[in-house]
């Protein structure tokens, strides 16, 4: 699992061997944490799968069927929501990864006031997405702060002249919010890698005649790669499954998949519930498969190193 996430406890070499004299020690130490995870997390997932198959013994439904999956796979809004969510996830991840690389490189070289700029850079890290979304709404809506500045500058005359960036079909507002938060998240991870890297490798490359681009491409980027991959997979997983930001900044139709699932779940028609479960199971499954593939890939690449 090395390097899959930068902060994993992967110090296998320094670990003590299993304490043979007290066999029960480790299971006992792990019991509370595993109880929480198995009972609520794994239990919740299993129950969601069961209910998506229509198996709900608590309300007296015992037959298992794929009806819910069949139903959502024949719904047009499901495909549109799936496409929209994938689009949001891919664009947010790609844009914020690129911006994060640029930011980390710039902050590393910022000679004057790096401490204060790095602090400001980190400023939005603990801010919940909800608040970020409200800020983006006040900023980018057609009568928002930027539209007013545009009016002052004589660029637009009325709100309708300002491009629709929130509640828009391309989910630009949602993407902006995710980019705002995720750039900083990835950027701080990369900055930590860069600062621990130091200048010596690049100095060697420079002495060997490498130009600016070559130093970045063949020296810095390979060191950043594990961080870039793991952080961007986290960002994609989050943006693909998150609910708050599309709820606040998204169009009503088509909505992001998690919002569609939530609306089906809270529908007065109880028959919509298995469909809601099926959609949320699909979201979880997509992310599960993605992370699995990524872990296999990263394991192979690490061996090659």
């Amino acid at each position: 699992m090395r390097n899959v996430l930068p902060w994993l406890p992967c110090h296998l070499a320094t670990l003590q061997p299993f304490p043979m004299k007290n066999r029960l020690k480790i299971p006992l130490l792990l019991a509370p944490a595993l109880t929480v995870i198995l009972l609520f997390f794994v239990g919740g997932l299993v129950l969601a799968v069961m209910q998506s198959l229509g198996y709900m013994p608590i309300i007296g439904r015992h037959e298992v069927s794929l009806d819910a999956y069949r139903a959502i796979f024949s719904r047009e809004d499901f495909y549109r929501s799936l496409a929209l969510t994938t689009w949001i996830g891919l664009v947010s991840t790609a844009v914020s990864t690129i911006l994060a690389i640029i930011s980390a490189l710039a902050l590393r070289r910022a000679v004057r006031g790096r401490r204060i700029t790095t602090f400001i850079f980190q400023f939005n890290l603990p801010i919940p997405h909800v608040v970020g979304a409200i800020g983006i709404l006040f900023l980018f809506s057609q009568s928002g702060f930027l539209a007013r500045l545009g009016h002052m500058g004589g660029i637009i005359r009325e709100p309708a002249d300002f491009p629709a960036l929130v509640f828009d079909p391309y989910a630009i507002g949602i993407t902006l919010e995710y980019v705002w938060k995720s750039t900083v998240f990835i950027g701080v991870i990369l900055l930590a890698v860069l600062l621990s890297l130091g200048d010596s490798y690049e100095d060697v490359a420079r002495n060997l005649g490498a130009n600016r681009w070559q130093r970045f491409r063949f020296v810095v980027l390979p060191f950043l790669m594990p961080g870039i991959m793991s952080a961007s997979i986290l960002v994609f997983a989050f943006t693909f499954g998150a609910f708050e930001v599309p709820l606040l900044l998204g169009q009503r139709y088509p909505s992001a998949l998690p919002v569609l699932a939530y609306r089906s779940y809270t529908d007065v028609d109880l028959n919509a519930r298995p469909e809601a479960m099926a959609m949320s199971v699909i979201i979880a499954a997509v992310i599960g498969v993605l992370v699995f593939v990524y872990m296999q890939l990263s394991r192979r690449f690490l061996r090659e190193d």
Binding site: L8, I287, V291
Partner: protein, 295 residues
Amino acid sequence: MTKELLTPQKSIPKTERKRPFSQTNLRWPTISIHSLVVVVIVVGVLLPFVPLLIWSFAHRWLFPAVLPTEWSLRAWTYVFSPSSKVFLAFWRSFVVATAVTLISIPIGIMAGRALGLYRFRGRTLVLFLILAPTIVPVLAVAMGIHVVFIRYGLADTLLGVILVHLVPVTPYMVLIMSSAFANYDTDFEDQARSLGAKPSQVFRHVTLPTIWPSVMIGSLFAFIISWSQYLLTLLIGGGQVITLPVLLFSFANSGDNAITAALSLVFIAPAILILLLTARYLSGKDAAFGSFGRL
């Protein structure tokens, strides 16, 4: 500019000073690009807070006006009045987050000790299980578990919300504590024991003081993760357990921008406080940092 160009800067290593002038000359535009990027970063990060701040003091702020035409403290008076819904929601959020934190501390210390100190069979599997909630979205989990919570009377209750908040909090608590135990020397415990200390005394006087900084960092992060939860609270609390984010959403949908803005600022106050407290110790490589990806 030319003066600076000719005097070598402190931060530039010796090898670079010796480079021919034509090459040193090339550094100038790149440094200004760096500063430009840094300025863009600072503005970009802070920009969404600007309308939030202004709106919280606005009374009348119609379209073309760049600043409110009438200011007022209405939103702030409402937010801080003891009779408003805000006060109760703030208190409820605080109770939930504190309870979640206190429950997760022993869970984290125990599992962190096992994962941080020992090599054992199935360690990778346990890590995998404990980390899974940091990647898999909570939507499916919350929907799936809801029916059981209804069955056992935990839905729509504070206790139910506290229990379900343990799902996103536990992984980070365990990660933070296991990295604390990764640099922990059990010899001190052995010495205390050989001097006759009871297990409880060993924990109280040796283990706890050593891991205390990590317990503090872990607690702050556990608190803020629970504090920020919306979806889990909404589903399991069923709209009955109105925490601050739930209230914030209903104001955001109501269209009262001034109160929405003031409430947002109140909501993020603990988060900023925690950042101020931990920024010096925090780097992108820390276990605690991962939790930021999901706030």
